[in-house]
Amino acid sequence: MRTVLTIAFRNLVQAKRRTLLLALAIAMVAALFLFLRSVSSSISERMVESATTLSAGHVNVGGFFKFRRRSAAPLLHERERLLKEVKEIVPEAVSIIDRHRGWGRLIGPSTSINVGVNGIQYDQEERFFKSLRMARESEYKKDGGSEVFGDFAELAKPNTVLLFAAQAKKLGVSVGDVMTFVTEASGGQANSADLRVAAIASDVGFMSNWSIFVPMETVLDLYRISPSTTGVVMVYLNDASAATAVMERLRTDLKAKGHDIMDHDPNPFFFKFEKVAGEDWLGQKLDLTIWSDEISFVLWITSALNLVSFFVVTVLSIIIVGGIINAMWMSVRERTKEIGTIRAIGAKKRFVLAMFVFEAIMLGVLASLVGTAFGVTSLFILNSIALPITSEGLRLVLMANTLQFNIHAGQVFTTVLLFGCITGLGALYPSIKAARMKPVDALMQTK
């Protein structure tokens, strides 16, 4: 085995130029491959992060209350009971919180925006505030400095609001300003509240444009609803992939406790109003979802992106395999005599095969190491520059406002592994050919 490796390595070193050229190609593709993977995984991660920070727990116990036959409200009564039951059913949850949800218009001095309003209880939301970062003044004000104003803890007080940087910039407000929030409803009534900006957080992807956070009692006041109600109970788990199983457990157990539960519909709650309004029942039904359901309307971006990167990577792999076959073929032709000699002095076919394959794998691994190193460095540089993205379409697709991508050690490792395999596979055919050659024929070849 050691001999094989030594010979393979020696061959690589000897054919300096060829090795370098092929290595360059492999390194480039490896770097690109890593880059593509980093982009697509960053987007998925950000999507999960945005979703679970802004609008959903890993599992959500929401639902609708129909107090009219023709409409549906995203409300649940008997809040305490529900919270207690969910806690009993999911003892392994990291945290279980509840929020109220509403919709309205936030009116700033320069313009107004429509946003979803989330009623939160400050002391429940440790996880939420931990994942947010306060925005520097420059993120929402033209000539703003790098200071940070406001305090998340202010949200414990009534009639305060947490905005995100892009919203504050658009509305033209700073921490401490007071703005009006109006619930919008077609019936014509509008309830309003004056909200003081308690803090401005950095944007969480693109979706933070659509949400604001206020103390729960403010939402109760706005809609004149009783404090014994809630909007949604969010369950956070250690392992997001267990979400579906936990949801199913909640479904069975809550049903056993006498709740009516809607069939699973993997869409956010605001897609379901019309459907529920058309149904013939009064009272309350629970609607259980997992985090990805609540952002189903943007999930196509990840799947589209995965499709594109899968396609590009497949095409690139085909090209690389082609190149490797070609290069190895050359190398075999060039060294026919050598092969003949080795075989003549007693080397087995398997030895020759192993020699060539290992040569290719070694080349692939070394080259992709260089390539991934280059890829990691350039991503690192890109991240430290944090180029702002100006196109809104691009922002939506990349789920971010700056050009920054995450990278994981696992991705680097699997890239190197994959390229080792690809080059090894590419070398297989010419190597088999070489190994099959009769020593006599090989020695006889003049070229």
Binding site: R105, S112, Q189, T229, N326, W329
Partner: protein, 698 residues
């Protein structure tokens, strides 16, 4: 002559070498062919998508170019930007002046003034309808019908009571619920409804003002609209067609509802689910049992009987029950009351599976649809639009629905179907700008109230301070009783002076070009003209004006071109690499050639010819395959797998065109790139000295 011979020789030798190194030729040829294949297919499809996108954007509402104030705080995004809600794009205060300037610019065909906004659609409540039917019955003095209506009202009152019971679980405002309860009790009292046989105004008023509001409105629906000079709009957007009802007569105020919007948001839910399933089954080629979403839709459909039921009166219900029985859908209990009987029939009717779907779908449109109010809004009706003004007050405007329209060829496009169309004067009212008539009225009131001067920002508040009356509010979503809100009800005529279309305020304007190909130049001309005339106007092309939707196409194009470039670079590096390696192997051969008198240029030429030939053969083959696939697709069409794709395709299927220009250019470009890329390798080979080469050991 000599040169010619050299070329011939080069080609001959090159061809021989290619044959000699068959495998290498094959691999490099397929790589280049694959590149050409991808380029032809990808670029053709991209252009198809862009063309259909462009058609649906420019052909509907946006036009080729949009202009708006450069004072705008937000970008103009006709089909929505990154935030929800009304974008502040400034105003064009005086259309007449702008039009004078714009129409002088070369290549401008028309300027269509516009005002874009999003408003609430006021959705009537159930009791209003019942009460109106009762009033009509009383007027006609047909006691049998009166009895029927009264029974219906009694039933609804009992439902209201159960609704109030439900509300108690949620609300903090129990006082209000007690009042409502008392009012219902009063209406249910023995001497109230039973003795209602004539038009008794005091009783009817009590029902209208105390009882009807309790039932509340339905879930709110946003309505996007563009206010415009409709006659001009019709002339300049030839795809615009009124498909139901009539065109708004010139000089009348009114609204045309988009067919797509009506189908998607204003249709009875059961019909919407039927349509959606039908589309997925017939066009998507799916089955109900084989697709989880279809299964879910079918399950949802089965629950939507109540809405259908609520729309039928006694006679229609009897007929329908009979018809359904004829189709073999017998009620569970034949002796049950009509409502229960029909409900059980409808329930089983709406339970569909793969075998029954086609029949039920047909039956729904033949038997049920004609008997119910299939759409919430139909031509001839008057609807109420409510807009929230900047300071949070509500303005509401009643408006007659004249017709339903669509853009021919873009019936399924989400973009083209997003906008409803109303006249410019109604837009100004909703926006908060007063018409000449309202202005005069306000002036009179101002004079009466002794107010001297008002700045525009205070106009609506002052108007509301003087004019408005508190309107008892009802509630929709979760709110139970709201703070009294004050509506600003403009008093304007059904008709207006046509001159209002030519002057006054708009938010933006579409510009239609005589020759859309000269888009860039015309944009420059317009910008120059506005500058010369000191007009604060911004000029944007259709793609930018469309907002996120337009940018999305840019993104798709960028992604495709980026992947193509990546693929090409990698392919070229590999090709270059194999050529260099190839030369190393052929050192002796080259040395020999040089020794027997071949020039360096001959060697370079030989290598370039080899790559050129390989590239040409491979890429032509790739291109032919791509064109063949395109040809096949142009007949079959590509089905849009999901909503996003159907948005990109602007329809349920994309029929690509065979793009000969791309099919021919791509192989040429691929070959040229391949040849250029192999120059390094060829020159490297030519550097080989004859002597050195011959000495080489191997």
């Amino acid at each position: 002559m000599k040169i010619n011979q050299t070329y011939k020789l080069i080609l001959k030798v090159a061809a021989r070498n290619l044959w000699l190194f068959r495998l290498r030729t094959f691999i490099i040829g397929s790589l280049l062919g694959f590149g050409a294949f991808l380029a032809v297919l990808g670029l053709s499809l991209l252009r198809d998508v862009e063309t259909s996108m462009r058609a649906s954007i420019t052909g509907s509402v946006v036009g080729d170019i949009q202009i708006h104030s450069s004072q705008a705080k937000d970008d103009l995004a006709v089909f929505g930007g990154g935030f929800m809600g009304r974008a502040d794009i400034g105003t064009i205060p005086d259309l007449a002046a702008v039009r004078d300037v714009v129409m002088k610019v070369q290549n401008v065909d028309a300027m269509i003034p516009m005002g874009l906004d999003m408003v609430f659609l006021g959705r009537g409540n159930e009791l209003d309808d019942t009460l109106e039917a009762l009033r009509n019955a009383l007027k006609s003095n047909d006691q049998i019908i009166v009895k029927d209506r009264v029974d219906q009202l009694k039933f609804q009152l009992s439902q209201l009571k159960s609704e109030i019971e439900q509300q108690r679980k949620l609300t903090t405002q129990t006082d209000e619920l007690d009042e409502q309860w008392a009012a219902i009790a009063q209406a249910e009292a023995p001497d109230f409804l039973d003795t209602l046989t004539t038009v008794d105004e005091s009783k009817l008023q009590f029902l209208d003002t105390k009882i009807a509001p309790i039932s509340g409105e339905k879930t709110p629906v946003y309505l996007n609209y563009v206010g415009t000079d409709i006659t001009l709009f019709q002339q300049k957007f030839p795809k615009f067609t009124v498909v139901e009802g009539e065109m708004i007569p010139n000089g009348n105020r009114g609204i045309l509802i988009s067919r797509k919007f009506r189908e998607d948001f204003l249709k009875v839910m059961a019909a919407r689910i039927f349509d959606r399933l039908n589309k997925r089954l017939t066009k998507g080629g799916m089955t109900i049992s084989g697709d989880p979403e279809n299964k879910r839709l079918a399950a949802d459909l089965a629950r939507q009987h109540a809405q259908v039921m609520a729309q039928l009166d006694r006679q229609e219900a009897t007929e329908l029950s009979q018809r359904l029985s004829e189709y073999g859908l017998e009620p569970e209990n034949k002796d049950a009351e009509l409502i229960d009987k029909l409900t059980s029939q409808l329930k089983s009717f709406l339970q569909v599976d793969d075998d029954k779907f086609t029949e039920r779908y047909k039956l729904f449109y033949e038997e049920i649809a004609p008997r119910i109010k299939l759409y919430e809004i139909s031509p001839g009706e008057t609807i109420t639009l409510r807009s929230y003004t900047k300071s949070g007050y509500i303005k509401s405007l009643p408006l007659k629905v004249y017709g339903v329209y669509t853009f021919t060829g873009l019936e399924d496009s989400d973009l083209a179907g997003a906008m409803n169309i109303l006249d410019l004067v109604s837009f100004r009212e909703l926006f908060g700008q007063m018409s000449e008539a309202s202005k005069k009225e306000l002036d009179d009131m101002r004079a009466a109230a002794g107010i001297k001067e008002l700045d525009t920002a205070n106009l609506e508040e002052s108007l509301f301070g003087v004019n408005a009356a508190p309107v008892e509010s009802t509630n929709t979503t979760a709110a139970v009783g709201a703070a009294p809100t004050i509506e600003v009800k403009p008093v304007i005529d059904e008709t207006f002076d046509l001159r209002e279309n030519d002057s006054g305020l708009a938010l933006n304007a579409a510009i239609i070009l005589k020759d859309p190909r000269k888009l860039r130049r015309t944009i420059k001309d317009l910008e120059k003209t506005f500058k010369q005339n000191n007009m604060d106007l911004k000029v944007v092309d259709w793609q930018t004006a469309a907002g996120i939707a337009g940018q999305f196409v840019v993104f798709v194009r960028m992604a495709l071109i980026f992947s193509l470039i990546v693929i090409f670079i990698v392919a070229l590096v590999i090709i270059n690499n194999s050529i260099v390696v190839g030369t190393l192997n052929r050192t002796r051969e080259i040395g020999t050639m040089r020794a027997i008198g071949a020039q360096k240029s001959f060697v370079v030429g030989l290598f370039l010819a080899e790559t050129g030939l390989t590239g040409l053969l491979g890429s032509i083959f790739g291109s032919i395959v791509a064109l063949m696939i395109l040809f096949w697709l142009s007949i079959k069409g590509i089905p849009a797998a999901n909503d996003v794709v159907s948005f990109l395709f602007s329809g349920p299927r994309l029929y690509p065109k065979m793009r000969w220009d791309i099919g021919i250019t791509a192989p040429i470009v691929v070959t040229i790139i391949a040849v250029v890329a192999s120059i390094y390798a060829a020159r490297h080979a030519a550097q080989i000295q004859p002597a050195e080469a011959m000495q080489e050991k191997e």
